[in-house]
């Protein structure tokens, strides 16, 4: 009796979890299936659960729409900002973790509050500054915007990761004749490599997924994938099939990277407050 009631309980538990999963994955399902539906059938209500997949949307996207250009722009802007943030961020993170630097908590506080700044807080001043030096419409301006958010995050997170490295490992290397920079490159950095990669993933996700900044700072040939995706809403209507297909392109790399780094996701997303 007791055993069977526990079994029922467990079955019920899985049942409820699966219901939640269905609810949360339903929009994903709609997006992916719509991408593979030929034009009109995606508007059927109730939707056809069984249909013949078509790649018409993908073909349209590549033939009428310069998707590779936007893809390139997104990749360039995202990777540049991520690279700069990781390079400067790991240096500074190590410095803050190990150094005796006056006011370092104040510096750290500035880092974390920059990261929390609303997008408009960076967008507005940088727009006017860049306009006066004619940098609006370039990918460089976008890279600066992303770095303004990513670098503080990278510094803060790398500092948390470096603080977890036991000091005696580094001290032992110092005794063996390494100087501080060698310790950083040869000992500390390899030890925090997973953390470094996870930080990179978070920087990547932020820049890749951004729309609000990109729509202000880029135009025409420098637009990113997210902006191009939203631009498919034209005044004549929305080309939904292509929006959904673009959506798949937009979200796939992020899901891949995010899931790969998911062991560190919580620590990264909570600024290292949770391990």
């Amino acid at each position: 009796m007791k055993k069977s009631s526990r079994l029922v309980k467990r079955f019920f538990l899985y049942f409820v979890v699966i219901i939640f999963l269905v609810l949360f994955l339903f929009p994903v399902y709609i997006m992916v299936t719509s991408a593979f539906k030929a034009d009109v059938s995606m508007f059927d209500l109730p939707p056809k659960w069984l249909f013949k997949p078509s790649v018409q949307n993908f073909r349209n996207l590549f033939s009428t729409f310069d998707i590779l250009l936007y893809l390139r722009n997104s990749v360039v802007a995202t990777l540049s900002s991520t690279g700069i943030s990781l390079f400067l961020g790991s240096l500074a993170g190590y410095g803050l973790a190990r150094g005796r630097i006056a006011r370092k908590e104040n510096i750290a506080f500035w880092m974390i509050s920059t990261r929390m700044t609303p997008l408009v807080g960076v967008m507005l001043p940088l727009y006017l500054i860049f306009r006066s030096i004619r940098l609006i419409g370039t990918l460089q301006s976008l890279v600066v915007c992303y770095t303004a958010f990513n670098l503080p995050l990278a510094i803060w997170l790398m500092r948390c990761f470096f603080e977890e490295v036991p000091k005696d490992v580094e001290e032992a290397a110092m005794v063996d004749g390494c100087n501080k920079l060698q310790v950083f490159v040869k000992i500390a950095l390899p030890l925090v490599l997973p953390g470094l990669l996870a930080t990179g993933v978070l920087c990547f996700i932020f820049s890749w997924n951004d729309y609000a900044l990109a729509v202000v700072f880029t135009s025409g040939k420098t637009q990113t994938l997210a902006v191009a995706c939203a631009r498919l809403m034209t005044e004549y209507g929305i080309v939904w099939g292509q929006v959904m297909t673009m959506g798949v392109f937009l979200v796939l790399p992020v899901i891949a990277l995010g899931l790969a780094a998911r062991r560190y996701l919580v620590e990264g997303l909570t600024f290292g407050a949770l391990k």
Partner: protein, 303 residues
């Protein structure tokens, strides 16, 4: 100049020997240009009229923008919308997130797979969430509109994004869809780190599941819940992409949060000075939240 560096380095060894300081400096220099200077620029801008025509010079107008902000009923409305949005979205996300995390933590098999599947919406670009929302809540072919009409809701509402309360509700749904997974993974990490012995002891004493959640799990999870809540609160002010591509703050400003209002003032009405004033007010709120975060959550203190 050397006095400046002496001041920055904590005393003991100075100049080139303080390698850590030299490691921090490049990042600091970059941030001064792309973060500190823009911040000062925004504050200065809030005391100016900044015409969009490049040839005209900006003029100082003293407290004009500030007086306008504090006397304008609209400002209060933007903050009210922001507050209502935050309270609505966050309370749903926290409750749902807690329930899902609790359920996931009890799974013996497939826990990893289900958690991974649950996090998928988190990776969607907010703009894509907005676009999907437009499709799913569309007046004629939106499947959610269809369901809502089937159960008899939405009587006399021709379009969801055209009717204030419905648009507000739809945006909250989108927010909940995208960000509940974040709360789930944060709380799940917290749940997994709780000491199991306490729960085992309580079970021996014959505690019911509800009692366990109320008297053990929730109190033990307090700090983690606070982390999730603060992280989400900051993001609510931060992101507005999904509002931009759905309602743009409309209809009749029903969904215009403070961020959308700033965007509107700056890039629609070209009132850069006033937009800066609104931005500063939003920055003050973020600073307070950041302060709370550092004080109560990270366990670091300002010297």
């Amino acid at each position: 100049m050397s006095g400046f560096f002496k001041g920055l380095s904590g005393g003991e060894d100075m100049g080139f020997r303080n390698v850590e300081l030299w490691m921090v400096l490049p990042a600091i220099c970059v941030l001064v240009f792309i973060s500190v200077y823009p911040f000062v620029f925004t504050i200065r801008l809030s005391f100016m009229d900044y015409p969009m025509i490049v040839t005209r010079n900006p003029i100082f107008t003293g407290f004009k923008n500030w007086i306008r902000m504090f006397s304008d009923v609209k400002t209060r409305q933007y903050w009210m919308v922001t507050l209502k949005y935050a309270v609505g979205a966050l309370s749903l996300e926290m409750v749902l997130g807690f329930i899902v995390a609790l359920l996931l933590s009890k799974l013996r098999f497939l826990q990893d797979l289900f958690t991974a599947l649950m996090t998928v919406p988190l990776f969607f670009a907010p703009v894509l969430v907005g676009l999907l929302g437009r499709f799913l809540f569309h007046e004629s072919y939106g499947i959610y509109t269809y369901f809502l009409r089937q159960v008899g809701l939405l009587r006399g509402v021709p379009s969801i994004f055209g009717y204030g309360p419905a648009a507000f509700f739809a945006l909250i749904c989108l927010d909940v869809w995208e960000w509940t997974p974040l709360v789930v993974i944060i709380l799940l990490a917290g749940l997994k780190s709780l000491p199991q012995e306490i729960f085992e002891a309580a079970q021996v004493d014959g505690i019911t599941t509800l009692q366990e959640v109320w008297y053990l799990t929730l109190p033990l999870l307090k700090r983690v819940i606070l982390v999730a809540l603060l992280v989400r609160t900051m993001d609510v002010i931060k992101y507005f992409d999904h509002i931009l591509v759905t309602t743009r703050g409309g209809p009749a400003d029903a969904t215009k949060t403070i961020s959308v209002a700033v965007y509107d003032q700056a890039f629609q009405a070209y009132q850069m000075g006033y937009a800066a004033t609104l931005t500063v007010s939003a920055l003050v709120v973020t600073m307070v939240l950041a302060q709370l975060f550092v004080r109560f959550v990270t366990g670091r203190s300002m010297e």
